[in-house]
C-alpha cells in the first residue's frame, strides 16, 4: 500500500491541506500541538474507516470534516473519501459509498507505531488480544463476526447471571448460552492458535536481530489458563459446567477466550514484569515489523508504516535497524519528529506549523 495524495478539510486542527507524498520516507517535523499526529490519523482513518484515537474529528467551530486520498495497491490506484454528514460518517471507494471498508481493503493497511503502543507489553491482556484478533481478521475475515457473536452471547449470559431468577431457572438457561459460547469460543481459540504461530516465529526472529542475537524473545498464546490451546478447546465445555455454580454465585462469567492472554517472554522471564523500557520498545517494534512482514507475505505488498514520535525514543542501534529495514524492504514510511532532531537520510522533509504544512526544498 502506498499513498500518493492526501487532502484534509476541517479535520482536527487543519482547515485545508493538500499534500503529495513521494515514495520512500517522509518526515513531518514540528513542535508539539502543531498537528503532526492528526495528519497520520487522517491517513489511518481513510484506510480503516475509523480512528485509533478518541476525541472530536471535526475542527472546532465547523460542521463537518472531509478527507480524501489516493492510494496505490499493486498496480491499482484507489481513491478513498471519508466525511461526516451530521452524526453519520460516510466512506467512498472510487466514488461509490461502501458500508464495510474492510471488505474492499482488508483490516490492516497501515501499521502505526506510537509511544502509547508500549501498553502492548506493559498493559493488560485486552490490548494484546485486540492486536492478535485484528491480525487474524486480516487473514480470516470471518473472525470478526465470530467474535461479535461470542460477545453477544457473553453479554446475554452476564445479564442472566445478574437477574434475580431462581437458581433452577438460571441453571437451565445458562446451559443454553454456554452452548453458544462453546460453539463460537472454540472457533476463536482455534483461529488464534493457528495464526499466533507464524506471528510468534517472525517476531522472535526480528527481535533476535534487533538485540544483536543477544536476547531471545518468545510469545505464547494461553487459552483458559492452558499452554496448549488444543487442550483448552477440548476442556472448554466441561470447564463451563464445573464453574457454573461459582459463576452464579459471583454473578459474572469469568471463563472463556475473552480472558485469554498472549504471554511475552524475554529469555525465561515474563516481559510484562521484567522488560526494561528499551526492551519494551524493541518488543513492540518487533511485533509491528513482524505484522508488516506477514501482511507482505499475504498480499505481496507491505502496508504503509506510520511512525508517530517513536524514532527518537529508540537508541542508535535500534534506530539504524529500523531505518535499514524500511530501506531494504522499500516501505513507504511517514514519520513525525520534533524540530531539531536529526532527520534520517534520503527522506523528504515537511514542516508542520499551526495546521499548515510546507515541504522543505
Amino acid at each position: 500500500m502506498r499513498i500518493n495524495y492526501l487532502a484534509l478539510r476541517n479535520f482536527r486542527n487543519y482547515i485545508a491541506v493538500d499534500l503529495e507524498f513521494p515514495p520512500g520516507t517522509s518526515v513531518f517535523a514540528g513542535f508539539n500541538g502543531q498537528g503532526k499526529t492528526n495528519l497520520l490519523e487522517g491517513i489511518y482513518y481513510l484506510l480503516h474507516g475509523r480512528s485509533y484515537r478518541e476525541g472530536e474529528l471535526i475542527r472546532w467551530g465547523e460542521r463537518y470534516f472531509h478527507l480524501e486520498g489516493e492510494f496505490a495497491l499493486g498496480e491499482r490506484n484507489i481513491h478513498i473519501e471519508a466525511y461526516s454528514q451530521g452524526r453519520r460518517k460516510v466512506m467512498k471507494v472510487n466514488g461509490s459509498p461502501v458500508r464495510k471498508l474492510s471488505e474492499y481493503l482488508g483490516t490492516v493497511n497501515a501499521v502505526s507505531f506510537a509511544p502509547d503502543d508500549l501498553t502492548l507489553v506493559k498493559g493488560g491482556p485486552s490490548e494484546r488480544r485486540k492486536f492478535l484478533d485484528q491480525h487474524i481478521a486480516q487473514i480470516q475475515p470471518r473472525h470478526i463476526a465470530i467474535l461479535n457473536s461470542y460477545n453477544k452471547a457473553l453479554q446475554q449470559k452476564n445479564a442472566l447471571l445478574k437477574t434475580n431468577l431462581t437458581l433452577r431457572d438460571k441453571q437451565q438457561q445458562i446451559s443454553l448460552w454456554n452452548e453458544q459460547l462453546v460453539n463460537f469460543g472454540c472457533k476463536i481459540i482455534a483461529n488464534r492458535m493457528e495464526l499466533v504461530e507464524p506471528l510468534a516465529q517472525c517476531t522472535a526472529e526480528i527481535y533476535s536481530e534487533i538485540s544483536g542475537r543477544r536476547e531471545r524473545f518468545g510469545m505464547l498464546y494461553r487459552s483458559l489458563g492452558k499452554n496448549d490451546a488444543r487442550e483448552a478447546i477440548a476442556l472448554f465445555p466441561s470447564f463451563l459446567q464445573d464453574k457454573q455454580s461459582e459463576e452464579i454465585e459471583r454473578r459474572i462469567s469469568f471463563l472463556g477466550p475473552h480472558r485469554d492472554d498472549l504471554y511475552f517472554r524475554l529469555g525465561d522471564k515474563p516481559a510484562r514484569l521484567y522488560a526494561s523500557q528499551g526492551q519494551q520498545r524493541s518488543i513492540v517494534l518487533s511485533l509491528k515489523l513482524a505484522q508488516m512482514r506477514l501482511i507482505k507475505d499475504l498480499k505481496s505488498e507491505y502496508p504503509l508504516l506510520l511512525l508517530d514520535d517513536v524514532l527518537s525514543e529508540l537508541d542508535k542501534e535500534r534506530q539504524e535497524f529500523l531505518l535499514s529495514f524500511i530501506r531494504t524492504a522499500n516501505i513507504q514510511t511517514l514519520l513525525t519528529m520534533t524540530n531539531g532532531e536529526k532527520f534520517p537520510g534520503n527522506s523528504a522533509v515537511f514542516y508542520v506549523e499551526e495546521g499548515k504544512i510546507r515541504r522543505k526544498v
Binding site: 463476526a145 453477544k152 453479554q155
Partner: protein, 198 residues
C-alpha cells in the same frame, strides 16, 4: 420554531408519533401537521387505531394477531395440524404465508430469549406452545439467524425432543436471484456449511 413552543396538544401528538418504529422527530412533525390540515383523515385514522386495538387480540392457540378466536388459520381444515412453525413475530407469519408453500400451522413467540432486555421463557408464548402439542409430529424453527434466535431455538428443541417430536430448523443460505459475489462472508460460510448433495 422550537418544538417545545408548539401548543401542548400538538407537541404531545408529535411526541406520540415519534415513538413509533421508523419515525424520527422530523417525520413525526410532518405527520402531525398533515393530520391537523386533514381533519377527515385524522378522524379515520383515530377510528381505525381504536378499532384495531379493540377488536384484534392474540389467538389463544397460535398467539398470532386475530379478530376471531381461534384465528382463521388455526380453525382451517385445509391446514396440516400435525406441523407447527415457530416464529418470533406476527409479521413473520405474513412473510411465510406469502410463499404459499407452507401448509402447517404457526406459533408466534413474540420475541426471543434475551436476558439483557429481561426476556426469559416466561415472557415468551412458550407455555401456550407446550399446551397445544397434542397430535403434533414436527415443529419447524423459523427464528432469525441471530445469537438470540438460535439460543431460543435450542431452548425449545431441548423441551420438545424428549416428547418424541421431530424438531427442524429452516436453512441458512443465499438469497435466490442474488449474486454470490455480493453476499457477505458470514452468509456464504453458513451456506457452505449447509450444502447438500445434488
Amino acid at each position: 420554531m422550537n418544538f417545545l413552543s408548539y401548543p401542548r396538544p400538538l407537541a404531545d401528538l408529535i411526541t406520540a408519533l415519534s415513538r413509533l418504529p421508523g419515525i424520527g422527530p422530523k417525520t413525526a412533525g410532518r405527520l402531525a401537521f398533515y393530520l391537523l390540515q386533514e381533519p377527515e383523515a385524522a378522524e379515520a385514522l383515530a377510528q381505525s387505531i381504536r378499532a384495531a386495538k379493540e377488536e384484534i387480540r392474540q389467538c389463544s392457540l397460535c398467539c398470532n394477531f386475530t379478530d376471531s378466536d381461534p384465528c382463521a388459520l388455526c380453525q382451517s381444515d385445509q391446514r396440516d395440524h400435525s406441523l407447527l412453525c415457530v416464529v418470533e413475530q406476527p409479521r413473520d407469519v405474513a412473510a411465510l404465508e406469502k410463499t404459499g408453500e407452507y401448509k402447517g400451522l404457526y406459533h408466534v413467540l413474540h420475541g426471543t430469549l434475551s436476558p439483557m432486555e429481561g426476556i426469559g421463557p416466561d415472557q415468551l408464548r412458550i407455555k401456550e406452545l407446550l399446551g397445544r402439542l397434542e397430535g403434533v409430529k414436527e415443529v419447524v424453527m423459523a427464528v432469525n439467524p441471530t445469537v438470540e434466535g438460535e439460543t431460543t431455538a435450542l431452548y425449545l428443541s431441548r423441551l420438545l425432543k424428549p416428547m418424541g417430536i421431530l424438531v427442524t430448523r429452516i436453512a441458512h443460505g443465499l438469497p435466490v436471484g442474488g449474486d454470490l459475489e455480493y453476499a457477505d462472508e458470514v452468509t456464504i460460510a453458513r451456506a457452505l456449511e449447509g450444502r447438500r448433495q445434488l
